[in-house]
């Protein structure tokens, strides 16, 4: 796609948007541009790839159903008027929101554009070399650095004229430890809407800890299978908030008749001490932004307050049908992907308990740490959340290190079994979320430590 200034894009988009009268139909158009640098370093591999700038446009209209076209050639702009239906008196089919104007680029502490590529590569090489040389049991130290820059320009026929430029950086470190034929690893990841300051946290002491964690995994045992009292770290708490609970709150599932939370609004869904939010407007998080891909301003969505379900997660369509107030959750992976209501930064608010006290109350249980992956079950509310590791707890103390653990069961049962939430500051972890298996968007999830009365675990 040829490059144009954002003022030219605004001007082109407004001209097209003006040809669709809001009284007759809703129309919006989005420009999406994405560039990235990816550096992967291991002892035998160095892959460096640059995505110079991939950009495209998606335009759509609502006339009772959605029609959408997406392309990557600016010259195709002229086809929009003929490709999308032009109707009369269908404007009220979808709720109208106030138009607004916004234009912002995030400027991190150390701007990535001011750091030469060589320095990024060198930093990645240094970390890899440090870990590789740390201990002979580290067979493969793998380091992955990825920075992305996303520009979204949005215009609609409600008067929206919006632009945001967001840099995101992530760093993954995987030292693979080997002893005889046994191979194991732990991992570290960090990320955010930030700049080169991401490396400030990666001190030598931190690297030693990361390497030791992997080496320790060589002595980890399989987790027991059965029902146990549990302590979950903030990452696992977030995985439950997002994967098991949050996907059922996405209001398209309500419209589909496919959510276990369909008749639960204003009802008790969790223990009284639980408050859960989704907040795209948080600063500097991987899942943050100023407006969504439908021009709705990012806000804060109080999903659960003191155990009571207060809100679903809306896009324009579902907010319109369900009379909801959207908080900026209509998201696309890119111009080539469709919109769904999606989470952003989803977390448990901190509680009143000391972690030490929570632990001391567990005579025999399991602590699950380092969230790994999870899968949604919006219809039935089933839970599958898998960790990278955990610990047995005996008489309030962490004892044997465990390999990955799968936490399963009904999520509402798990939420109702939350007996304590620690007062530690909310800790968010970045990741990528799919709607089912597709349409990947950057998100975070987290919270503080949770104590669960009883839940089913097994080796994961």
């Amino acid at each position: 796609m040829s490059e144009k200034s954002y003022n030219e894009i605004f001007s082109n988009f407004e001209e097209i948007s003006n040809s669709f009268n809001r009284k007759n139909q809703y129309f919006d158009i989005l420009y999406d541009s994405f560039s990235s640098i990816r550096i992967e370093k291991s002892p035998f591999t160095e892959d460096i790839s640059v995505n110079s700038k991939k950009s495209g446009i998606v335009a759509r209209t609502y006339t009772g159903t959605w029609n959408e076209i997406a392309f990557d050639n600016f010259s195709d702009l002229k086809n929009i008027k003929n490709s999308l239906p032009n109707v009369v008196n269908k404007g009220e089919e979808i709720a109208e929101f106030n138009g607004w104007k916004f234009n912002k680029e995030i400027n991190p502490k150390i701007n990535l554009n001011n750091i030469p590529l060589e320095e990024k590569i060198e930093k990645t090489r240094q970390i890899q070399k440090f870990l590789q040389n740390y201990d002979k049991r580290i067979a493969i130290a793998r380091v992955l650095y990825k920075e992305t820059h996303t520009t979204r320009i949005f215009v609609n026929n409600e008067g929206c004229q919006l632009r945001q430029v967001i840099p995101r950086v992530r760093l993954w470190i995987y030292p693979i430890a080997k002893s005889g034929v046994k191979v194991e690893y732990d991992y570290f990841s960090e990320g955010g809407e930030m700049g080169f300051e991401i490396f400030d946290e990666v001190t030598d002491d931190k690297l030693v800890q990361i390497a030791d964690n992997s080496i320790d995994m060589l002595n980890a045992k399989n987790a027991p299978a059965g029902r146990f009292q549990l302590i979950l770290d903030p990452g696992m708490a977030g995985l439950i908030a997002h994967e098991s609970f949050g996907h059922g709150l996405e209001a398209d599932q309500v419209l589909r008749g496919r959510s276990y939370l369909i008749d639960k609004k204003n009802k008790k869904v969790a223990s009284d001490i639980c408050t859960i939010c989704d907040t795209p407007s948080l600063e500097n998080q991987i899942g943050s932004y100023f407006f969504d891909d439908e021009g709705i301003k990012a806000g804060k969505n109080l999903l659960v307050e003191n155990g009571i379900l207060k809100n679903y997660i809306y896009d324009r369509t579902s907010a319109s049908v369900l009379n909801g107030i959207p908080q900026g959750n209509g998201r696309r992976e890119s111009y080539a992907h469709t919109i769904h209501p999606r989470m952003s930064n989803t977390y448990f608010e901190p509680g009143d308990y000391d972690l030490e006290d929570m632990m001391s109350e567990v005579k025999e249980g399991v602590m699950i740490v380092k969230s790994y992956f999870g899968m949604e079950d919006p219809l039935a509310g089933g839970c599958q959340c898998v960790s990278k590791k955990g610990y047995l707890i005996r008489n309030g103390e962490k004892t044997q290190l465990l390999k990955g653990i799968a936490l399963t069961g009904y999520v509402l049962k798990i939420l109702q079994n939350i007996e304590a939430i620690s007062k530690d500051k909310t800790d968010l972890h970045g990741g990528t979320c799919g709607k089912g298996h597709a349409d990947l968007v950057p998100v975070t999830d987290g919270g503080s430590y949770l104590k669960i009365k009883e839940a089913l675990i097994s080796p994961g």
Partner: protein
């Protein structure tokens, strides 16, 4: 048109006197209908293209590889991308690498001409067919769905005389069918890429999906067992076996000394034979060549339990002083991944019914919520979404929730039975397989 695009990029490469280069250009079109319950709620037409440049910089026994991806054909943008790629090739330090040279690739069928000629009408006809089939099922209702036709054109040209192209058509279906009775709800939620039109077979597919949704309504929690016999469906095997074997059979894993496989040693039960086959028609990744332009071939990975062959991309072939086996996959970022093209497991000697009849007490798993084993260690634990007990040689009560856990590397050494029946699932052609010594918890 794409040849013009490649010519344009190559012209700038030559003008910049770039000696060793590769251009990998992809054009994609997708036509999608998205359903809300049983009506079409959204229609989407998407077209996109991008190209990946790779430039090599030879430095003795090392090679620098620059990789840049873009989708602008503006001359100054191409120039900028080439500059960046050149710069990267000077910074990067990789083991010795050179592009493959031209070799004859086998012709395989990768596209349906009717779809190329009239994708939108074919999509609309198939959507009608799909909806009509679903509407005939009184005991289930759709909650949402997506149906898509894809047309991809891929072009690869390098400075070593490779100049090839492929056109590919395929489908994507995601559908949730819900069953409901006395306030109880259940669903079957398939998500699948399908290569050929004849594999769509809506009547058979919808019949099976509806039955699974209905049966799950009556599902119970499975009883725990520490030594269970479990039959896995082709879908489950795709998620379980493909990623683990892909890693441990790769030249990369051997080079890094993390593979659990040893050449000519028993790595599975002797009833298992597995092949990597990029030429396997009906599988999603069928193509005459891999992501580096090396011709695809049929590679025996495991024969009767014995590990036969590492899968090599160009880099690991050069390291081993041999030839690539056509296992260089082009990643989204443009780098090369050493992996499986299509995975085929040979059929067994009994039907699925006969397999079931051989099991007194066991479990049959059609789908997990997400079976995502650690490729490196093989460990897995996953929640059952749709499954059944096997009792006295017969499929018995449906089961749901609870967890199956094990280790794929150990599991494939404990394979009891393999079915004669096989199914295409994305880039796999797989039978049903029964394994012992798995753990069920609930």
């Amino acid at each position: 048109m794409s040849n013009e695009k490649i010519e344009l990029i190559e012209k700038v490469l030559r003008a910049n006197k770039v000696q060793e280069y590769e251009i990998y250009l992809t054009e994609r079109k997708a036509y999608e209908s998205i359903f809300l319950k049983e009506k079409v709620d959204k229609e989407r037409d998407v077209s996109s293209f991008d190209y990946v440049l790779r430039i090599l910089n030879q430095r003795g026994n090392k090679t620098g590889i620059g990789i840049v991806k873009g989708n602008s054909l503006k001359p100054q943008e191409i120039e900028h991308n080439i500059d960046t790629c050149n710069k990267l090739s000077k910074i990067n330090i990789s083991s010795k690498y050179f592009f493959p040279s031209k070799s004859p690739a086998q012709k395989v069928s990768t596209f349906d001409k009717n779809i190329i000629d009239d994708p939108l009408n074919i999509k609309n006809d198939l959507v009608k067919e799909l909806l009509s089939e679903i509407q005939q099922k009184n005991d289930v209702t759709p909650t949402f769905g997506r149906f898509r036709i894809h047309i991809d054109n891929k072009y690869l040209r390098n400075s070593n005389s490779i100049d090839i192209e492929t056109q590919k058509t395929y489908f994507f279906i995601e559908f949730s069918l819900k069953a409901q009775q006395m306030g109880k709800l259940s669903e079957f939620w398939p998500f699948i890429f399908i290569k050929d039109r004849k594999q769509l077979d809506f009547p058979k597919r919808i019949e099976k999906w509806a039955r699974l949704a209905q049966d799950t309504l009556k599902a119970k929690l499975p009883k725990p067992s520490k030594d269970a016999i479990v039959i896995f469906s082709p879908q489950v095997l795709h998620d379980a076996i493909n990623p683990v074997v892909e890693l441990h059979a790769s030249g990369k894993a051997f080079h890094e000394k993390v593979s659990q496989f040893n050449m000519n040693e028993e790595v599975t039960s002797d009833n298992i034979s597995m092949y990597d086959d990029g030429l396997l028609e009906g599988c999603l990744a069928v193509n005459g060549w891999d992501g580096e332009g090396t011709p695809h071939q049929r590679n025996a990975i495991i024969k009767k339990g014995s590990f036969q062959q590492t899968l090599l991309d160009q880099k690991h072939a050069i390291l081993e002083d041999t030839k690539s086996t056509g296992n260089g996959l082009k990643s989204v970022d443009g780098s090369i991944i050493n992996g499986i093209s299509n995975l085929e497991i040979s059929p067994g000697n009994m039907t699925l019914d006969e397999m079931v009849s051989n099991i007194d007490q066991g479990y049959f798993i059609e789908a997990f919520s997400d079976l995502n084993p650690s490729e490196l260690t093989g460990d897995f634990g996953a929640e059952i979404r749709n499954g059944y007990y096997i009792k006295n040689g017969k499929i018995d009560t449906p089961i749901k929730l609870g967890n199956v856990s094990g280790n794929v590397i150990n599991m494939i050494k404990n394979c009891l039975y393999i079915s004669k029946e096989r199914e295409f699932f994305a880039n796999n052609l797989l039978p049903y397989m029964a394994f012992k010594n798995l753990t069920i918890s609930s």
